[in-house]
């Protein structure tokens, strides 16, 4: 019979599948120390004159902020290095030039002495201007070098009063320095204009914006942001793609960041051995106002400029990031003549079709995040379909028909043999 081998084959396959299942590597990760530095948070508090307004739960904005700060200082995790910077705390005068320089470090970023920090906060008095841009620039300098996460939490009740320096652009420039800084913003009883400005600052660095109406909201939110800073995150490695494959940097598995200007091409190279699979994904972030239709294209091409595979994405409307990815399994080599180079160099080209909104600066480029994974190529399959197993009524019908025909033939043969035996 044609199906005779099934039980034996089935059992063999079953055993093989079971052992394969047992031997399947678990994705559990061994905790390897990365030597990550302590996370740093700089709280930047607006102490401008408007903070006297009494509209948060019946108390002044300043009092609410102080109370919230006390709660935050109590709840700050041990490992977080916290600093406090003020803006508009010292200069009460009318001179814009002086007022816009008015930002000071109240408590340096470092191991936290809660009592000392609280005493410093208690001395604050709503005074001057709202120099958000200059304060952010200074705050970026407050951090120590290190690969831990860095976060600025900006709390303000009014928009920047120090035009023409646009705090949004300041934020973008800080982010472009590549120190991995995120700015989160909180608006105290904000109007639409302040919301727009603070949200623009946040989006420029991948941070968040929250509007605050009550004192407990303020404490909760700042606490959450400080906690978030304490969480370990993968720090990307800065790299710089080239304009052509020949000059491109060679990357290994990992997470990388780069900057790509509007309409620019970025090239990277990855070495892939036969039998390995290249996985690459790229995200281009819209950290400023862009026109509502956009796209990202990631191509894998050979050194001879033949396209292997591409990933493309397009989108429309409000977005933070547009991303795509590709897989390229390089087949095992059959001939082992050894005169060809073992690894193939795959060139990755990233292009974007974002276009800047009107009046938006095009430099620095858009933040680009690139993930490269080079893993073993696809296995000989362990999936049941590959054992030749089928399903469905057509399969049953075919098998029954084949079996029936085989039976018929067998019967005829046997009848014929019987006839031969009888006549002889």
């Amino acid at each position: 019979m044609i199906r005779r081998k099934w039980p034996a084959a089935g059992v063999g396959v079953l055993l093989a599948a079971l052992t394969a299942g047992l031997a399947f590597p678990s994705a559990a990760v061994a905790g390897e120390p990365t030597g990550q530095d302590a996370p740093q948070v700089d709280l930047v508090l607006d102490v401008s004159g408007s903070m006297q307004t009494r509209d948060i739960d019946g108390q002044s904005r300043m009092a609410a902020a102080k109370q919230a700060f006390n709660e935050v200082l109590d709840a700050t995790p041990e490992e977080v290095e916290l600093g406090i910077r003020t803006l508009g705390a010292n200069y009460p005068g009318d001179d814009k030039k002086e007022g816009c320089k008015d930002t000071a470090q109240l408590y340096p970023v470092g191991p936290l002495d809660r009592t000392e920090a609280k005493t410093a906060v208690a001395t604050l008095n709503p005074t001057g201007w709202t120099p958000i841009g200059p304060a952010l620039l200074k705050a970026a300098g407050d951090f120590k070098d290190g690969n831990g996460s860095k976060r600025i939490v900006l709390i303000s009740d009014g928009e920047d009063t120090c035009a023409p320096l646009d705090p949004c652009e300041v934020a973008r420039e800080i982010a472009a320095k590549g120190i991995g800084l995120t700015i989160d913003t909180l608006g105290l009883v904000p109007n639409a204009k302040l919301s727009r400005q603070l949200s623009c600052i946040a989006e420029a660095t991948g941070g968040t914006y929250t509007s605050v109406q009550h004192q407990d909201e303020l404490a909760d939110r700042v606490n959450e942001l400080v906690d978030r800073a304490a969480e370990p995150v993968v720090t990307p490695v800065a790299t710089e793609g080239a304009a052509s494959c020949a000059k491109a940097p060679t990357l290994e598995s990992g997470l990388y960041t780069d900057r790509e200007e509007f309409g620019q091409q970025r090239w990277y190279r990855v070495d892939v051995l036969p039998g390995q699979e290249l996985r690459a994904s790229v995200s281009v972030a819209a950290d400023r106002a862009v026109n509502p239709d956009y796209g990202v294209l990631l191509r894998a091409v050979t050194v001879h400029n033949r396209e292997i595979v591409r990933g493309e994405a397009a989108g429309t409307g409000r977005t933070d990031v547009l991303s795509t990815g590709l897989r390229y399994p390089k087949p095992e080599r059959d001939d082992d003549d050894g005169d060809k180079p073992a690894a193939e160099t795959v060139c990755l080209a990233v292009t974007n079709s974002f276009s800047p909104g009107s009046g938006v600066k095009t430099t620095p480029g858009l933040p680009l995040e690139l993930t490269i994974d080079v893993v073993e190529g696809p296995d000989g399959s362990s999936d049941v379909a590959s054992f030749g197993l089928g399903r469905g009524w057509w399969l049953l019908g075919t098998l029954v028909l084949a079996g029936f025909l085989a039976g018929l033939v067998w019967g005829w043969l046997s009848r014929w043999r019987f006839a031969v035996w009888r006549t002889s």
Binding site: V13, V29, T324, R327, P378, V384
Partner: protein, 277 residues
């Protein structure tokens, strides 16, 4: 003749026992959606692919966030599952009309299409909440590199307000996100498999695991892009309804063979031959 009968009987028994084993095997691997229905997930959301908060299928991830935030979660999905992502957003008391959207990306950050479900929904002014849903395609074990089919690995969920007024920016919202999946069984089997699931950063994870050897290591939290695995593993296992189909087919073929044999062979001996001949 006798051999054929024996073989037929054997095949039939195998087919029946396999068929009987099917429900038992199905029972032993409960669907992740049902197993931990009341499981509480993380209470926070990430703000980028890199910082996406991980949760398991069947869990409910919650977060308090602001309108305008881009919120990211990730969950693992294995072969043969058809994931469904649902989100509900509790909006503030007063607000203008807002459009919310849920996007799902695979481990390569490729956007995955939703088969059904309201992926985008506009909440009228002062509406209390928005419900969003996305039913993905079935996760296959393998696909051509040029295809965009869902593969086993990490899936990212991005939730955001795509259309809103400046006055609504920054308002607090409460968000719940759930992921579950339906097992699609043997119908979704394909001929091939990936060596590693599409988990971002898996090459580095493997390298670290190799270096560390035994893997118990130390307790210092190491940042990884994605760490979770579906509770039944990435592959659907050896069991598939295809075993039953094929075995039943074999058994029926054997019976048909016997029938065909009897039809042509007749009763065994020609009736004209006397019994003693």
């Amino acid at each position: 003749m006798r051999i054929t009968r024996l073989l037929g009987a054997a095949l039939l028994t195998f087919g029946l026992s396999a068929a009987a084993a099917a429900p038992a095997a199905a029972d032993s691997t409960p669907s992740p959606g049902a197993s931990s229905e009341d499981g509480a997930g993380p209470t926070r959301a990430g703000t980028s692919f890199r910082t996406a908060t991980e949760f398991e299928q069947g869990q409910t991830a919650t977060a308090r966030a602001s309108v305008g935030d881009y919120l990211y979660w990730s969950f693992p999905a294995g072969t043969g599952q058809r994931p469904t992502v649902e989100a509900s957003v509790k909006l503030p008391e007063t607000h203008a009309a807002e459009t919310w959207r849920i996007d799902v990306y695979d481990g390569l950050r490729r956007r995955q299409a939703c088969q059904y479900g309201a992926q985008t929904r506009t909440a009228a002014a002062d509406a209390a909440s928005v419900e969003l849903k996305c039913v993905l395609r079935t996760v296959r074990a393998w696909s051509e590199p040029w295809a965009n089919d869902p593969l086993p690995g990490t899936y990212y969920v991005r939730l955001t307000a795509v259309n809103l007024t400046a006055a609504d920016l920054g308002q607090s919202v409460d968000i719940e996100v759930r992921a579950g999946s339906k097992e699609m069984g043997g119908a979704a089997a394909v001929d091939g498999s990936l060596s590693e699931p599409l988990v971002p950063g898996i090459a580095l994870q493997n390298a670290a695991a190799d270096q560390d050897g035994d893997g118990d290591g130390n307790d210092s939290p190491t940042a990884v892009l994605a760490d979770l695995e579906p509770e039944d593993g990435w592959t659907s296992g050896w069991w598939s309804s295809r075993w039953v189909w094929t075995a039943m087919g074999g058994a029926l073929a054997a019976l048909a063979g016997v029938a065909g044999y009897r039809l042509t062979r007749g009763t065994g001996r020609p009736s004209r031959v006397p019994p003693g001949a």
